[in-house]
Symmetry: C2
Amino acid sequence: MTPVLIDGVTLHPEKQIFHPQGDVFHAIKSNSPGFVCFGEAYFSSTLFGETKGWKKHLRMTLNLLVPIGSVRFVCYDDRSDSPTFGVFSDVTIGVGNYQRLTVEPGIWVAFQGVGNENNLLLNVADMIHDPDEVERCELNEIIYAWNSGT
Amino acid sequence: MTPVLIDGVTLHPEKQIFHPQGDVFHAIKSNSPGFVCFGEAYFSSTLFGETKGWKKHLRMTLNLLVPIGSVRFVCYDDRSDSPTFGVFSDVTIGVGNYQRLTVEPGIWVAFQGVGNENNLLLNVADMIHDPDEVERCELNEIIYAWNSGT
């Protein structure tokens, strides 16, 4: 496990098994670090350069995998009592850097498609989608230097 | 839920939400029909025309989703006490027929890549991988008319 800058955001390497007949990529196990419980799994796709604006989950822990392409996740900590208050983390995961990104509740997340073709992410969440536990804001409401970073 | 021919094999439609910035496809929820409990999730990819030979899980229930391309799953029932003893089921799921395929333990499964490019499946299994609960046999040990069917 490589710690990322924000308290509550962690990266966990997952196994990729390459085989000429087709590859197997691990995603998450019930005894994996960062796994809380199982609520719902869903896929989200994003094209090259598209950025999906900020969301903050109040109760959901995200476990994010990218088995196709690669996706850049920028997280922002606006919790005034956090040891990493005001910090951004900027992580790109995908086929070439195959890790699981765990994001605990209370942290802002935006993401951007990095691969030239389709970029697919899987979120294995610890609760079923509930619109009342999500806060959203526009991409330009949290200023980040998207052109710098990874 | 559309019943499939074999007792213990079921299909469950899942939602696809199309959006110009990127689509969201549901996979499975903790209250979905066919969900038992969460053990492990993993991806498996298969190229066009490749067929991965027969496996029978003795304890694992599979919940299979295909968010990229399409995959043909052939199941075979050799349980002599089953109401569908000797029956094959032949189902192709994927982006164009987006359903979740649930396969209970004790049923043989083989699968084949159908889409021209990559075909990606996700298995949300109710237990962590255990090689001792899997039986395998070669593709030609269970004779099936792969050139017929869907």
